[in-house]
């Protein structure tokens, strides 16, 4: 009932704001969605109003304000979201410098999806692989400066004096932790009560998250090399206390923190010599984590106590996204990407995936049927989404899709389940 009332309030706000927005140069979108999960027989729905205001303050300065009012029936990290709020300066303080300061989204990486270099902004939790879900980010407070050194190369600097983590609902965090512990210690995750305490890293003006990125051309290939010094955006356990009851149930108390990490990145995009018409996009990231262990103390039902140390991060590792896309003469679009790791996997948990997207628009571009597939090469789990976008009139998009997942838990792909989704979006 609360959700319905909230949705109605959003609709009223939309009706009030839309005429005003035209007058005040405010633009944005309004959307609504519903989905039905066949496995859980659950119905999910949500509405969103997003308003953007990007006025010129002078010839060289702009303000960007982007806020959302969002209701979703589950896993909503905030009903009112500040997406971006920053001042942007062009060719200032000198002709070859642009900068932004405030709350912002920063996108690094050449890949169209799941770039391992795109680590600055945290994300809200989502099991969807729709473009809207992939593009959703939580803003960070930052200073972003780009120095255009010459016509070919620029140097970007990011300074972030505040830490912001990914948003993952407690029950999802507990689910992952439960499956991890169950696989290591022979516990039943179904009868596990988990309490967690999270400690945020001490990020501040003198201990910021920071990064540099050089962008330019090497021959005909667009390239970028980057270095980012900061922290993982998901929390990891470092002290776990488990009490196993005689009935097989267990109580888990875990302290979690955010390990420090450095990420070296390389991005490439261009044409493949000898294969006309194909654009390749490749991102490679080398993660160098601080050594992180989880000290596990298990109090067994028979009164004995075991001590176990699990290495969470003990060595550097690679993540990558290597793909190619091709548009045929009938305007169908093919995109195939090999992924080493997804945004939610790190260290020893990394899997290999194949991601495939096919779009085949109708000649008048009103209909755009698509297929999205992601296959976990390690365990064979898979999500296939078939659907279509439909543009009934200017500025309106309706999307209907059916998602089928296969595999077994704890695979994230398997846990997505089968879902029928419908969304309507209007941009103004």
């Amino acid at each position: 009932m609360k959700g319905i009332l909230f949705s109605i309030s959003i609709m009223i706000i939309i009706l009030v704001f839309t005429p005003f927005s035209f007058a005040a140069d405010i633009y944005g979108e309004v959307s609504a969605y519903g989905n039905y999960a066949f496995d859980t027989e659950g119905f999910g729905y949500g509405t969103k109003l997003q308003l953007k205001y990007n006025p010129s303050l002078s010839d060289d300065y702009y303000l960007m304000a982007d806020v959302s009012l969002k209701y979703q029936s589950e896993n909503n990290y905030s009903p009112i979201r500040l997406n971006e709020l920053y001042i942007q300066g062009f060719s200032t303080p000198s002709e070859d410098i642009d900068y932004k300061v405030g709350y912002m989204h920063l996108t690094w990486g050449a890949s169209d999806a799941f770039s391992p270099i795109d680590n600055i902004n945290p994300r809200p939790f989502s099991q969807s692989i729709s473009q809207d879900a992939l593009d959703e980010k939580i803003p960070v407070l930052a200073l972003n400066v780009e120095w255009y050194m010459n016509p070919t190369w620029s140097l970007e600097f990011v300074y972030q004096p505040e830490f912001q983590s990914n948003y993952r609902p407690d029950q999802i965090d507990n689910l992952f932790l439960g499956y991890q512990l169950a696989s290591m210690l022979d516990l039943n995750p179904q009868v596990m009560q988990i309490d967690t305490i999270q400690h945020l890293p001490e990020v501040g003006f003198l201990n910021p998250v920071w990064g540099v990125r050089a962008r330019g051309n090497v021959g005909s290939v667009d390239t970028a090399f980057s270095f980012l010094k900061g922290y993982y955006l998901n929390a990891y356990p470092y002290r776990t206390d488990i009490t196993v009851n005689p009935d097989g149930s267990s109580l888990v108390q875990t302290e979690m923190g955010y390990p420090e990490r450095s990420v070296l990145g390389a991005e490439f995009q261009g044409e493949i010599p000898g294969i006309a018409g194909v654009t390749f996009r490749a991102d490679f990231a080398l993660f160098i984590p601080e050594k992180w262990t989880n000290q596990i103390t298990t109090h067994n039902a028979d009164g004995t106590t075991n001590f176990t140390t699990v290495d969470v991060f003990d060595e550097m590792y690679w993540k990558a996204s290597v793909g190619a896309d091709y548009t045929a003469s009938d305007n169908s679009y093919y995109n195939l990407i090999y992924l080493l790791g997804n945004p939610y996997e790190e260290g020893k948990d990394i899997n290999s995936y194949l991601f495939f997207r096919l779009e085949k628009p109708s000649p008048d571009s009103k209909w755009k049927p698509f297929l999205n597939s992601i296959l976990n090469l390690n365990d064979g789990s898979m999500i296939n989404v078939i659907g279509t976008d439909y543009n009934p009139k200017e500025n309106w998009t309706i999307t209907l899709s059916y998602s089928i997942s296969s595999g077994a838990p704890p695979s994230l792909l398997a846990m997505a389940g089968d879902t029928l989704s419908l969304s309507v979006k209007h941009v103004f």
Binding site: Y27, N54, S56, Y62, M64, Q88, F90, D98, H105, L106, T107, A110, D112, D135, E146, Y148, P151, S154, S220, D222, Q269, G270, E271, A276, G277, V278, T279, R281, D325, Y326, T327, A328, S329, N331, Y333, P361, P363, D364, S365, K366, E394, N395, T397, V427, F428
Partner: protein, 257 residues
């Protein structure tokens, strides 16, 4: 009698050589067209595009376009094309550099610039019936094998242009060129099966004092999906001052250009 024959023979030879000397070739026509369009290096155009689908439904888009044309070196040819409205394509911007060899697309929603390559150029640009390939370059003799098909029309040259690019969507283009002002009045795009696919007609031009030609209105038909686009420029400024690095990915990310 011998003298008469000799004189007659010389006249024939002279006439034949004169005709040869004054005949213009297809490549020369393309060169002259390029020269006429490149007299002013920089240009800013603001206009509208009205797209009509097969059911007759119209969509209007406002646009701004900056271009740089260098008659000395076509490799320097570049342009920026941005939609100003409606909301769903607002600030979607295309940058073409190196005479269409390097194309970038800025989609504000994704906050990054995307490289478009190869047959990506065949993709329709932001829902119009223009492909990136249609928009990305001029009609240089370097890109086509050109043949002059007529020499008896007082008003127009008819050229057959066969693309050098083996991946082109077109088997040839048939171009009608104004004999006096050297601009194309019409281009018929012939598909790989030999059928007429698209027709581009220039409906209004402005001749500048320096002899260059500015296109003010053009009409583009896609005969396969029965859609049209009418592009009309409301203002054209020539010879504007632009920074040397204006045609760059930096520029197309700006909220206003």
């Amino acid at each position: 009698m011998k003298k008469l024959i000799m004189t007659f023979f010389l006249i024939i030879v002279f006439v034949a050589f004169s005709l040869q000397a004054f005949a213009i070739t297809a490549d020369e026509i393309l060169d002259e067209m390029e020269a006429r369009s490149a007299l002013n290096a920089t240009q800013k155009s603001v206009g509208t595009m009205i797209m009509t689908d097969e059911k007759g439904k119209e969509e209007k888009r406002d646009l701004v376009m900056y271009s740089y044309d260098d008659s000395e070196d076509t490799e320097n040819r570049a342009f920026i094309f941005r939609f100003l409205s409606p909301a769903e394509v607002k600030n979607v911007t295309m940058l073409s550099m190196k005479d269409g060899d390097q194309i970038y697309l800025f989609m504000p929603a994704f906050k990054k610039v995307r490289r478009i390559a190869g047959s990506g150029k065949k993709e329709k640009f932001a829902g119009t019936n223009f492909s990136f390939e249609d928009l990305s370059g001029g009609y240089s003799k370097d890109d086509y094998d050109a043949t002059l098909m007529n020499d008896d029309d007082d008003e127009n040259y008819i050229l057959d242009l066969v693309p050098n690019d083996p991946d082109s969507d077109y088997s040839k283009l048939i171009m009608t060129v104004d004999k006096e002002k050297f601009y194309f009045k019409k281009i018929e795009f012939i598909d790989l099966d030999g059928n007429q696919w698209k027709v581009l007609e220039v409906q209004k031009v402005q001749e500048e004092e320096d002899g260059s030609i500015t296109i003010l209105k053009m009409y583009f038909q896609d005969l396969k999906d029965n859609s049209t686009s009418l592009v009309e420029m409301e203002s054209v400024e020539k010879g504007i001052d632009l920074p040397s690095n204006f045609f760059s990915v930096r520029t197309i990310q700006r909220p206003e250009i």
